[in-house]
Every structure is written in structure tokens, then in C-alpha cells.
Amino acid sequence: MADTSKRRRTRADLVREARRLGLSVRANATAATIEKQIADARRRATRANARRPASRRKASEKKPAANPKQHRTSRGRRETDDSPPPLPIVKPAIEVPAPTTQAPSSRSFTAPTAGRNSRATRPSHPSVTIVPRSPDWLFAYFRNANGGPTVLRVHDATVHDVDVPDGAIHAFVPVTPDTSGVRVEMGVRERSGEFTAIARSNPVDTPPTRATTTVDPQWPIDPRAEEVHARALRALGGASSRMESEVSLPTSPAPPFPGASKRLNVGAGSPTESGRAVPSTEGGAGQRARDFFLEVGTDLIVHGATVPGSTVTIRGERVMLRTDGTFSIRMALPDGVHDFEVRATSPDGIETRVVDLRVTRELRARKGR
């Protein structure tokens, strides 16, 4: 445990020290109280460190940057690094969670709104909570009373650190698959490189990405059964024929019913294209080599008026007459010459008037300049 100073520290020094450790300091706290708070925090951290096997501690603390995961975390998606990762890092299941420990956007760290009575608005102990979101990524959220720079130390198969920028309240943390009792400590790194934990997460188990080697002797798996497993894995991973050593998992999500809009891939429509050829736009100009398109449609409205109570037909089909004797019909108009016979018969059925209407629609598509 690094002792930052042998000399007697002033209250201001202590407050600074405590803040660095993520402790909240009351305005009326005396120097002695703060000193005790700091000592407590350090004792907790020592206990947490002591629970780790010494070999692991050494490996990670000597060369924290050598850890491939941390490397990846601090550099984003490895776009410049060609060396293969020494650990079997599985690609994140989805592309979105670029580790937010780098360049957090303000959006990602600000929950849309804090609940009016949310605990987050009250002063509280520093804490860190983790949820396994996939075999190789944890979702971690934390509360560090004073916001200062934070390090997350991940205890999985190895021990590795993830730096979290100031003000962050969550991170997606890379982790080793199929590990039980994974924990994350939140802490600060001293100038000497020593890590001081100020909070410790709940333990979680990360899911496996391959079949276990544990076999129940009463249920032995013979080569024929292995064929069954291999086929099921292939079907899960789609066209890929990779075996359990490198399983990629299914691409068949539950279709999102609640999104009752047109953004679903059932039906093989493109999720972004809007409705295309409908009767109104029949004959539109539209080779869709690119996304640009033009569709032109025409609807014809035939309207008129006669004596209320009369009978009106257009092309032999009866038309609804409003009580004031007016009528209006709308129809999609395709290419061609269309003849309409509009016929009205008086309410007493004695008199009939006929109007003939001819409409021509001709639509030509041509290249613009």
C-alpha cells in the first residue's frame, strides 16, 4: 500500500486524498474523521487484494498494458494492430458496444432522465455493479462519489485493468468467457502505479462459448452422438462449419413484434426502403441501381352534383350520394384511355342524364440530364 506522505497532512490534503479515492467528504468533517475514512478505504482495498492469488496479481501489475484486452479497450477496435490476440477473444456479439471506456459520448453516459427519487441523486457509497451481457463483455455501472479518474480492475481468468474516463457512470468491460466468480473492483491508481480499490462488485459467471469437457460417465458421448452435436452447432452458427472450438452463435433473433413498423427482416424487404409500387404509382420511372428513385402516380377524382335522392352510377357502379346531392369518387389511374359514363337518374326514376368523360394517361420515363 503506497503511503503518499510521511509528513503531517493538512485537512485540505486529506480532502484531496479522499476525493481521489472516490470517498465523499462531509463539509463539517474534521481532519481526523477524514483520515479514518481514508484508512478504512485502504484497509478494504488491502483485503480485496489479499483475496487474489499472488501469481495473478504479479502478472497484471507488472505489465498492465500487455494485457490484450486492455490494449483493445484503450485502442478501440484494433484497427491498427495486426498481431493476433493471445487470448481467445470472441468478437462482440453486436457491433454497437465499442468499449465506452474510450471517448465516451456525453449521450452514452447520461441516462435519459434520472428518476425523480432516484438514489443516483443522493450522496452514497461508491459502488460498482456488473452484469454479464455476453460471454466476453460485462456491463458495469458504478458510482464514484467525486467523479475522479477511475480504474476498473477485472478479476476473471486473469486480472486486467480498464481505465474509465472522468464522469463515466458505466462501461462495457471485456472479460474472459466461461469464468465463474468474475468480479470487478473500482479503484484509483496511485502515482506509483499501485491500485487502491474503493468498491467491489457482485460476482458473476460469464457464459460459456463452447461445450464443456465434463462428461457424465453414465451418459457417454460416442462419435455418433458427436455428429449430432456438430450438426446442431453448425445449424446454430449458420453456414459456418466451425466446431465447438470457435462457435459463433445464431443470427436468428426473435423478430421484434413490438416494433410494429416496417423495420423487420421477416419478408426479406429492405428495412429502410419505404413502400414502393402501389397502384397509384404504377408505371413510375424507377430503375433502382442506387438508392435514388422517382415514382409518379396519378389518382383521378370525379365529382359532381345532382338532385338529392337521385341515383348516380359511374361505369355502371353505383356511387354514394351525399345528402346535399354531391358526389365524389377517387380512383387510381393507370396508363391508357379511360371512358367514364356518369349517369344520374332522378329520384322518381323518370328522368336520366348522362355525361361521357374520357381521360387519357400516358407516363413515360426518360433519363434526366
Binding site: R44, A93, V128, A225, L249, S252, L264, A268
Partner: protein, 574 residues
């Protein structure tokens, strides 16, 4: 050699009911699902029953969906919605008078809507819950249940009280509606974490389903992979989803619904016709957003060119072809598996019910034909598919009732979502809901512990029950999902916020002893009236009471971490 085919349908919609608005877009999810999925499926099952087909299929109906189907306001609004759709379809018949092909399609749409209206009014008298109860009683369809509000269990920090509330309320609501105990439990999104099975066992559940890798990666490795159920240490059977039959139906690339002959889901006239014409027919008054009308004239067609008009006859032929293909594939698959495993395989094919009819227009017809082909024929009947016996249809309960010896194993954490785990429900778009849900769940546990016996019908009891209801509603997996797919993210976010705000306000009122305040009482009464699901005598906030282990003082030892982290358990049971 034959095998068992377990067809499973899972019907679920989140609880959406907004009496405070005259019309509400998100309520149309239910209305569309009734018209396009629930009525056609119920009709199909009735027809099969009437024809004396002996089939077996398992159908889970979520408690939130049951609550909505049972709600008078929503029933009334459905009728109003359906009338509007019928009006629009007849307008379309007029508009397409110069286009014979489209006119025939418009007439077809109108007829099917009118048919839905007669089913709704005459055949089922607007009571689909009773229709489901009758369906279950006829014995071919086994009804089962799912989590209270479809909460995503593995993202609850292993908190038993939340798991128990989701499971227990799901089971209790099933009993309230159907009068019997469900044997099966559909894990929302097939999402499993070791430990969930203990809670299922506590609630008397006999089986659940995990995705294939949940069994392929189980410990110890199950001999038959996903093709035989295993039993967890808690004594509940876990069935594995068959990836092959899933792909044939689900996949957007090589699944049946993407066939060029089928009706294209996306080609809705609501998005294409002139706004002045179609706008007044869209559901939400005053909104300038386009929305689907349910009238779709085109088939998938394939390629990027112009979509061809839908041809019902051709689609019917394809439906028959695909149904035969599905059953034949299962038969071949079962034979292949049986040869290698040395026993009859159990092929579990679960689907979201709403896939059939809503997303895949021809789905209900396909399903009915699959059942007719796969169900054991009546005596002296000629087999329809060659001389080999086809797969026998069973439900997981039937399989268990046969008393086969099951291998003991612990399924691996998994889900059927993209990637196979929980990432979709905890990503950049939706992670922010989880810390707040966890905090509320912890609060609720505290409330249930501090008030172990709130007297019935007291305001304290009402407040605690309502707080529990709000938390359950906030926990629905649908909100995270919608935030992820970005269809109506603002609505999903507002629902999470709204329920959690209400929860914390009620919790605060209880904590400060303000339940005598008329304003507080009114607030609780309003919330009760807006969320009329899980009625009180059956529903009891005490489902949230924590485990004894969590209450023990050693666990509460101060280690400096937050109470959440101290109390959380991994749920590991090995």
C-alpha cells in the same frame, strides 16, 4: 424410427393501454395481432378440432396479453379499430376500380376483415380469454405461461425476489384465467441463467425451453445435445430448441417467409398512398406519421426491382409445398438423429405466435397444414407422406409423462436473441434502464421485508401492490428490445421512466407514512386504474419478499460496497 415434434407457440405483447388518450398508436399492436394472428390461429385450431385431428401443440400466452384480451376498454377500442380498417378496405375497393388485379386484392382484404369481425363478434363474442380456455379444454392444445410482464430474467442481477415475482405471478395469473396449474414456463426470450430453474421448481413448473446452445454447452455435456430434455439439479426439465426447424421458419434469408410468392410485410399502402387520402384512415388522429394500414398488395418478389402484385393462388401452393417440406424435413431429421442417438429424438420448434399472420401472412395456413400432415392420422386413414411414420406431435409435458429417464445437467446461460446471450437487452441503446431497475427491485425487496403483513384492502396494501405492479411493468423485456431496434424508442423509454417514477413515488409515500394524504391516495387510485392487470386478491406484493439467505445479517456485513453488490447472488448452483 420416428421422433417427437414439439411445436410451441409463444404469444406475448407488452401491456399497452392508454385510457388517457382517445387513440394511441401503440395500442394497435394488440389490434393488429388480434386480427392477423390470434383470430386466425384460434379459427385454425377450431377447424382442426372439428375435423377430429389429434394433434399436440403447446401455446404460452403471456399474462400481459391475457390482461389486455380481458380488458373491456381495449375490447371496445378493438371493435372501433376494426370498423375503421373495414371502412378503409372498402374505400380501397373503390379506388382500385380501374385496376382489376388490385381490386381483387382489396376485395380479399375487405372480406378477411369482415370475416375477422364475424369471428370476433359471433364466434368468440369478444372474449378471447374464454376462447383460449375452451381451446385448452378440448385437449389438443396445451396452454402454458411465461413471466408476469416478460421480464428478462438474466439481467436482474440474480435477484431471487424479482425472479420469483416474475415467475410466481405468471403462474398465478395462468391459474386465475384457466383454472389449472401450468406445467411449462416460457422463459422470456429463451433467456436462462443457472438458478432460474430453482425458482421455477419452487413455483411448481415442470419444464422450460432454452436455445440449443443452452444444452450443447450445459454441464456435464448432455449426450443428446438439444434432442432430449435434461433435468436440472432443481428437478425441472429443460428442452433445447432445434436450430434447424427454427432456421427454416425464422430466417430472413433462407426461411419460408422470405419466399418470393408470399405477401410482403413491408409493402403497406399506409406508407405509399397520398397523405391526404390515407392519413384520415391511420389510427392516431392528429399525427402526421405514416403507419401501416394492414393492406398490402405485393409479394416479396425478390431482387431489388419493382414488386409484383400478390397472387393468393400461387401463395397457397407455396404454403402447401412449404408445409410438406417442413414435415418431411422433420421426418428425415428424426431418422438421422435416431440412428445416431439410439433413441427417438425430441425436436422442439418454438416460435413467436405473432410470426404467424402478422409478420408472415400465410403463417396460420402453413401451421394448420403442418399440423394436418404431422398429426397421427385417424384410424384406417392413408398416410399422407409416404409409408414412413412422420414425427409424432407431442408437447413437452407429454414427453415427460412418458417417464423417460433424463440426464442430469445444468443448462448454460443463453438466450435466443442475436448473439445468443443477453447483449441485445444491455447495449448502448438500452443499458441505462438496468441500474434503475436494479435499484427499484432492491427497494421493493426492502418494502416487502419491512411490511410483511399489510392488511388486505388497507391503503398500505394497495400502495405496496401498486408499487410491485409498477416495478413488474418496468421490468418488461420489451422496452429494452424496442430501444434496441429503435422502432418507437421514445415510447419505450417513457414507459420505463413512467413506471419507475411511479414506483419510487409510491415507495417514498410509504416510507414517509403519507398514505393518509388524500393526494397520495388519489395518485395511487389513478395508477391502479391505468394498470388494471394482476388484480389484488390473487396478486400479492409479498412475492417480492427476499430469500432468507439474503436477509441474514452476515450477508449484510459492511464491506464498503453498495447494498446492491453485497446482496446480489450469482445464482450458480453447481
Amino acid at each position: 424410427m420416428s421422433g417427437s415434434l414439439c411445436l410451441i407457440l409463444h404469444a406475448h405483447l407488452p401491456f399497452v393501454r392508454h385510457p388517457e388518450h382517445a387513440t394511441f398508436f401503440e395500442e394497435t399492436w394488440l389490434f393488429e395481432a388480434i386480427t392477423e394472428t390470434y383470430l386466425p390461429l384460434l379459427e385454425s385450431f377450431e377447424r382442426l378440432d372439428r375435423d377430429g385431428i389429434r394433434y399436440r401443440i403447446a401455446l404460452s400466452v403471456s399474462p400481459t396479453l391475457l390482461a389486455m384480451l380481458d380488458d373491456d376498454l381495449l375490447k371496445q377500442r378493438y371493435e372501433f379499430h376494426l370498423e375503421g380498417r373495414i371502412r378503409f378496405a372498402s374505400t380501397e375497393c373503390d379506388r382500385t376500380r380501374l385496376l382489376p388485379t388490385y381490386r381483387a386484392l382489396a376485395r380479399r382484404a375487405l372480406e378477411s376483415l369482415e370475416h375477422a369481425r364475424s369471428l370476433w363478434r359471433e364466434q368468440f363474442a369478444g372474449d378471447l380469454v374464454r376462447a383460449l380456455r375452451d381451446l385448452g379444454a378440448r385437449g389438443n392444445v396445451e396452454l402454458f405461461t411465461t413471466a408476469a410482464t416478460h421480464g428478462y430474467l438474466p439481467l436482474m442481477l440474480g435477484r431471487r425476489s424479482s425472479w420469483r415475482a416474475q415467475v410466481r405471478v405468471g403462474v398465478d395469473e395462468f391459474r386465475r384465467h384457466f383454472g389449472s396449474r401450468p406445467a411449462g414456463f416460457w422463459l422470456p426470450e429463451c433467456a436462462y441463467q443457472p438458478g432460474v430453474d430453482e425458482v421455477l421448481a419452487e413455483c411448481g413448473v415442470r419444464w422450460f425451453v432454452v436455445d440449443a446452445h443452452g444444452l450443447l454447452f450445459a454441464t456435464p455435456r448432455p449426450r443428446s445435445g438439444p434432442y432430449a430434455p435434461i433435468v436440472t439439479p432443481a428437478g425441472v426439465a429443460a428442452f433445447g430448441r432445434d436450430p434447424e426447424s427454427s432456421r427454416q421458419v425464422w430466417s430472413a434469408v433462407d426461411g419460408y417467409p422470405g419466399d418470393p410468392a408470399y405477401r410482403d410485410f413491408h409493402e403497406d399502402v399506409g406508407y405509399a398512398l397520398p397523405w391526404d387520402y390515407v392519413g384520415p384512415h391511420l389510427h392516431v388522429q392528429g399525427s402526421l406519421d405514416r403507419a401501416p394500414t394492414g393492406i398490402k398488395y405485393h409479394r416479396v418478389t425478390g431482387g431489388r426491382g419493382r414488386k409484383e402484385p400478390y397472387d393468393p393462388k400461387r401463395a397457397d401452393e407455396k404454403t402447401a409445398e412449404h408445409a410438406a417440406h417442413f414435415v418431411e424435413s422433420r421426418r428425415v431429421q428424426a431418422a438421422w438423429l435416431a440412428e445416431r442417438l439410439g433413441h427417438e429424438p425430441v425436436i422442439v420448434a418454438p416460435y413467436d405466435a405473432e410470426l404467424f399472420g402478422h409478420w408472415w401472412h400465410e403463417g396460420p395456413a402453413w401451421l394448420e397444414q403442418v399440423i394436418r400432415l404431422a398429426a397421427p392420422p385417424k384410424q384406417n386413414d392413408v398416410r399422407r407422406l409416404g409409408s414412413d411414420p412422420v414425427s409424432r406431435m407431442r408437447t413437452p409435458t407429454d414427453v415427460l409423462d412418458e417417464g423417460t429417464h433424463l440426464q442430469r445437467a445444468v443448462p448454460a446461460a443463453s438466450s435466443w436473441g442475436e448473439g445468443g446471450y443477453h447483449a441485445l437487452w444491455a447495449d448502448e441503446s438500452n443499458h441505462w434502464i438496468h441500474p434503475r431497475l436494479h435499484e427499484a427491485a432492491q427497494h421493493m425487496e426492502g418494502l416487502a421485508r419491512r411490511h410483511p403483513r399489510a392488511p388486505g384492502r388497507s391503503w398500505l396494501r394497495r400502495a405496496l401492490d401498486q408499487a410491485a405492479r409498477e416495478l413488474l411493468l418496468a421490468q418488461a423485456s420489451d422496452w429494452a428490445f424496442i430501444l434496441h431496434v429503435r422502432t418507437v424508442p421514445a415510447y419505450a423509454a417513457s414507459r420505463v421512466r413512467d413506471h419507475l417514477d411511479a414506483f419510487f413515488e409510491i415507495a417514498e409515500a410509504i416510507r414517509r407514512g403519507r398514505l393518509d394524504d388524500p393526494d397520495v391516495r388519489e395518485c395511487i387510485a389513478v395508477r391502479e386504474s391505468r394498470t388494471p392487470l394482476f388484480p389484488a386478491p390473487t396478486f400479492d406484493y409479498r412475492v417480492f419478499q427476499p430469500d432468507r439467505t439474503v436477509r441474514s445479517p452476515t450477508v449484510r456485513a459492511r464491506t464498503g460496497a453498495s447494498p446492491i453488490t453485497v446482496k446480489a447472488k450469482t445464482g450458480r448452483i453447481l
